[in-house]
């Protein structure tokens, strides 16, 4: 490749903007992540495997990823529905609903955590009637699921909303003219157009849920093997100054979430190729 590293440009500020960007990126992001990987490398893959390959760690990792997947799936369906309602329909309170979607982004996770716990605890506003029916939410896996749904709620809606806004009505009209029923049009014409954006939102919600800590630990109950999430295990190891074990679990989480993001990227590329650019 004969391409130069940086093309000549009359624009000013190359050195300054490149300097700030690369310095901040190195200092704030790359150096710390490098330190984690360095520590992991000197601890050794064998030792990392030994730390991870324990029932308590497996249970936490499996729990984190399983519930994150379920929460992201719920948010995928509900998020697309919400985006559709917000873009296509006009009804009183629509602006308020639209603003409320962003609340999980703006509300600190610790606040969300204690609020959800108060709401779903056996004496809470939702918890009490459910407890009367014999259903326990707080301090069970259901509680974790609700917290993960809360933190991931805006992602799909916010990625899908602009795409719905840009859909050309004529496409739907053409489909209707050709005799397609509404549901068929939605399934065969609209859904494929929304798929890439919805999948992106799904991936973001999933990544967020897997690493989530603040909103989950209050409602989870944190019982080893049952309601203990993977990030909490890292915190526990750190509190015991067991840096090597914390590093091992941290690296395992990083690897699994990168693998998941890569898998989703591949699905996205594949779906784009199959459906074509829309």
């Amino acid at each position: 490749m004969g391409r130069p590293l940086i093309h000549r440009s009359p624009m000013p500020g190359l050195g300054l903007s490149m300097g700030i960007t690369l310095t901040m990126l190195s200092l704030v992001v790359l150096l710390p992540i490098g330190a984690l990987l360095w520590r992991g490398a000197s601890f050794g893959p064998g030792n990392i495997w030994e730390v991870v390959n324990r029932p308590r760690v497996w249970a936490a990792l499996f729990l984190s990823f399983r519930l994150s997947l379920l929460a992201a799936l719920f948010n995928l369906v509900f998020g697309v529905l919400l985006a559709w309602v917000l873009v296509r329909y006009r009804f009183p309170g629509r602006r308020l609903l639209d603003a409320a979607v962003d609340l999980p982004f703006a509300l600190p996770t610790a606040v969300a955590g204690i609020a959800l716990t108060a709401l779903y605890a056996p004496n809470g506003f939702f918890g009490a009637p459910l407890a009367a029916l014999g259903i326990k939410i707080a301090y069970t896996q259901w509680g974790i699921l609700i917290a993960l749904i809360f933190v991931g709620l805006p992602f799909v809606t916010r990625t899908v909303q602009p795409v719905i806004g840009e859909i050309d009505r004529e496409v739907e009209e053409a489909s209707a003219t050709l005799g397609a029923r509404r549901l068929y049009t939605l399934r065969r014409v609209i859904a494929p157009m929304l798929a890439p954006a919805a999948l992106t939102g799904f991936a973001l919600a999933l990544a967020r849920a897997v690493g989530e800590y603040g909103s989950v630990i209050f409602i989870a109950g944190n019982i080893p093997l049952v309601t203990e999430i993977a990030p909490l295990l890292i915190v526990i190891q750190l509190e015991e100054f067991n840096y090597d074990a914390a590093t091992a679990i941290g690296i395992a989480m990083l690897l699994i979430s990168f693998a998941m993001l890569m898998a989703i990227n591949l699905i996205q590329v594949w779906s784009r190729r199959r459906i074509g650019h829309v």
């Binding site: 000013p12 700030i20 960007t21 609700i146 990544a207 915190v235 941290g250």
Partner: protein, 296 residues
Amino acid sequence: MSDATLPLPAVVRPCRRFRAPTDEAPAARRLLIALAVVGIAVLVLAPLIVVFAEALADGVAASLASLTNRDAHSAIRLTLTVAAITVPLNAGFGIAAAWFITKFDFRGKSFLITLIDLPFSVSPVVAGLCIVLTFGANSAIGGWLVAHGFPVVFALPGIILATLFVTFPFVARELVPLMVEQGRAEEEAALTLGASGWRVFRTVTLPNIRWALLYGVLLCNARAMGEFGAVAVVSGKIRGQTATMPITIEMLYNEYLSVAAFSLAALLTLLALVTLLIKTALDIRHADALAATPAH
């Protein structure tokens, strides 16, 4: 809208409302709206109301009293300090990164964008762990810094680094898509007319991106004040010294001081509501200036 473009059938049966074939049946429409409203009410609005209900459980006086002690004050002051340092640093980085990415052509641009987005896919707890491993007293850098009287972990610099890490992409992500869309023509014209680099930035670029910049700063600020996981790992939770508002909320809650915990939480919730209010106003007023929402 679409009714006008559709030819009406020759014999129009008298019906109250004409339904275009590109609309859903009224019943389906009502069902979908109801699902959306109930879903948001249960999932989002109920927790919001509970924060204030729990804070005021013993009356306004008890709630206010719990906010007027040394620990609460130092937590509020620390959180404001952290935000006051991290948000401008982040805005500065975001502007520089967006300028570098959109005004120049270089190899590895998409890789750079991926690296800037990286903190979004890293758990805040892992982010805190990374900071501890880099700057903790046991590490090479941290040991040297502690020996020179500048501890990072379990002190303010660590909290700032952790907050910078988790908020890293916020401003850049708002600016890059917008500046790509706006192109370079206006800046090039200003340069041709003899303006200096700084002048071009101040008088041409900044007015074009100011609303998107405000948007990014707003989201960054909300996250900076509310960050829990990453800060919990690096702060050491020293009451009155390194306990931010979210950390103090956790400590109070674990001590069963519910009113105090929820009162502090209500303060942060008010901040979140103000953030949403300004964001919604920006969305309505300056929709065109924010047009390029991160298409990611």
